[in-house]
């Protein structure tokens, strides 16, 4: 079974002023993957994500998103749009809406417009009730059924982030982007939310087994290696530390993808034993985070070979 692509980033470069930030980034994400993006602080992870959301368009190169359900069609990103969901670290919710209203907000914006809501008020009310019901189901899925009528200011940071995930999930985006979504939370809360994401990945696997399209594709920026390896099924490393002199640049040209490998897959109830990926962690530290690392940038991009090997190993269905 060939997984269709969900995102394609081609030759993307970006910078602020005269300072280059991203250099010739190439990345392809397949439907159903949970890709974790790691990199040194300030290397441009958020910038890359913003380019995908479409709020800060790249200087060069394109971002193509493939959406639609049965036949995925691609379109080049030119601004933020309905097909990509985003969960930020802060500002995760609209402060003037309760939890359930926050989750239902997207349904409202997407399915109705202002004139409908104003001039077909009775019909809108009915529709609204459906939306809220659906939103409540999603809240239940992230374990917040009882907090439906709380405002963001009345919830803890962890609750807010969970609501934000529900808010994004309900829209069934072709691609869900998360920018350090759990960065501001404490350890226990992080663990819980990480397990939640693993649960979504299990839904993907279940769908794949049934031969359906996977419902969730995610791209997660994180600065915690453990989190990346635990949650992601693939880890991508973005770094400004690579052998750019070799590549013919006189000045550092900016960060690019220097690491791309699959990561171990956990189930939500597995014990969180991080020792199993100690080796990979050290490798990433060395390749991505070490300022003195000077590997050619292709050297650790092993993901597609790994995928080949894995497919060969798997028996045909």
């Amino acid at each position: 079974m060939d997984q269709p692509a969900s995102l394609a980033i081609d030759c993307l470069s970006h910078g602020f002023g005269t300072k280059p930030v991203l250099h010739d980034v190439q990345l392809r994400i397949l439907r159903g993957q949970i890709v974790a993006l790691v990199g040194p602080s300030g290397c441009g992870k958020s910038t890359l994500l913003r380019a995908i959301v479409g709020t800060h368009l790249p200087r060069q190169g394109t971002v193509t998103v493939f959406s639609g359900n049965s036949h995925l069609t691609g379109h080049v990103v030119e601004g933020p749009g309905r097909d990509r969901g985003i969960v930020y670290q802060h500002y995760s919710l609209f402060p003037f809406l309760t939890a359930v209203e926050n989750v239902a907000f997207g349904l409202m914006l997407d399915q109705t417009n202002i004139s409908y809501r104003l001039f077909k008020f009775p019909r809108w009310l009915k529709r609204r009730a459906e939306h809220l019901k659906q939103a409540r189901e999603f809240l239940d899925r992230v374990g917040l059924g009882s907090a439906a009528s709380l405002y963001p200011s009345e919830m803890s940071g962890g609750m807010c982030q969970r609501v934000a995930v529900a808010q994004a999930l309900i829209m069934k985006p072709a691609l869900l982007l998360l920018d350090e979504p759990f960065g501001a939370l404490d350890e226990a809360m992080r663990e819980e939310l990480q397990r939640m994401l693993l649960g979504l990945y299990q839904e993907n696997l279940a769908a794949r087994r049934k031969g359906e399209l996977e419902p969730h594709t995610m791209f997660i920026v994180t600065h915690e290696l453990n989190e990346a390896l635990y949650v992601g099924d693939r880890v991508v490393g973005l770094s400004q530390y690579w052998d750019w002199r070799q590549a013919g640049h006189a000045q550092p040209p900016g960060a690019t993808v220097v690491y791309d490998c699959s990561a171990p897959i956990f189930e939500p109830d597995d014990t969180r034993d991080f020792s199993c990926f100690a080796g990979q962690r050290e490798e990433i530290r060395d390749v991505v985070f070490n300022p003195d690392s000077a590997y050619p940038r292709e050297k650790h991009l092993r993901y597609w070979q790994e995928l080949e090997q894995q497919r060969e190993a798997e028996p045909a269905p």
């Binding site: 959301v53 709020t55 601004g79 933020p80 749009g81 309905r82 990509r84 969901g85 985003i86 930020y88 802060h90 500002y91 609209f94 402060p95 003037f96 809406l97 309760t98 907000f105 997207g106 409202m108 914006l109 997407d110 417009n113 202002i114 405002y151 963001p152 200011s153 009345e154 808010q167 829209m171 985006p173």
Partner: protein
């Protein structure tokens, strides 16, 4: 230790004590003044004051109205419409400025300058340019509160984190929905806060205008009675004005809690 709290009962007692003390001080002042000049009207005695109050609330034979009722009606209507148009205008202008950088660049300099001119000095301009009918009061209040309110709205829009706008776009919002469903909701409670602060200045313009033109309204009555040195009417009127301000403030706070319950919860 500094900042140590005291019991609630003390709070209440001392508050009442303060008011009582003020009243006693007034009484002494008035008595002293009357010992010097029994006809003194500048610091009226309590009996004079009650005369004044009676004069204000009883039906006046000549005009067939209760002064305070007629004045309150006239003043509050003027205030309402003035603030109404001022708020509408500032909401429009502030929103446009917050949303569109070119409107901002265009309108910010004149607004900033206008906001700095003491409105009382503009009274003259308004007489000359806007006539002296009811519309003058309304225009004056509206123009008086507009610069500050528009700036507030504008800043409130600017304060909305860009991330929320972006997210709304990813949820399928149109430009108009961003304005209506995101920015406006954000701005509303701050606008109400700003209106609360602008009620004071609005009253000042109105009272000042009523003092020089007009034949009904708080300002008119205070000016007239002051000219007649009927401080026994002026003082109660001032107290009424204070209560009026309190009432409006209270109503606006309630309104805010109603339209933006999230705001009160310490966002």
């Amino acid at each position: 230790m500094i900042g140590e709290p005291i019991a609630r009962v003390w709070h209440v007692t001392l508050g009442i004590g303060a008011v009582l003390l003020l009243l006693i001080a007034y009484t002494i002042l008035s008595m002293r003044q009357h010992r010097e000049n029994p006809d003194d009207k500048t610091i009226p005695s309590w009996s004079q004051l009650s005369e004044g109050v009676k004069k204000s609330v009883e039906v006046n034979q000549r005009s067939n109205e209760r002064w305070v009722v007629a004045d309150a009606q006239a003043t509050s209507l003027r205030l309402f419409w003035g603030v109404f148009w001022g708020v509408s205008g500032s909401l429009l202008i502030g929103m446009l400025m917050g949303c569109f950088a070119f409107v901002e660049a265009f309108l910010y300099p004149p607004l900033a300058f206008l906001a700095k001119i003491p409105p009382i000095a503009l009274l003259a301009v308004f007489f000359v340019l806007a006539g002296t009918g009811e519309t003058m009061y309304v225009t004056m209040i509206a123009f008086g509160v507009l610069p500050t309110l528009a700036q507030t709205v504008y800043l409130a829009v600017k304060e909305v984190p860009a991330e929320l706008r972006y997210k709304a776009y990813t949820l399928g919002a149109s430009h108009l929905e961003i304005i209506w469903n995101v920015l406006l909701r954000h701005v509303l409670p701050k606008l109400i806060d700003a209106i609360r602060l602008q009620i004071g200045p609005a009253m000042v313009y109105l009272i000042a205008a009523e003092m020089v033109v007009g034949d009904v309204g708080f300002g008119y009555r205070i000016r007239l009675q002051f000219k007649l040195l009927n401080m026994s009417v002026v003082y109660p009127y001032i107290v009424v004005l204070g209560a009026f301000g309190f009432g409006i403030d209270y109503a606006l706070r309630k309104l805010q809690a109603f339209v933006s319950p999230w705001y009160a919860k310490g966002y």
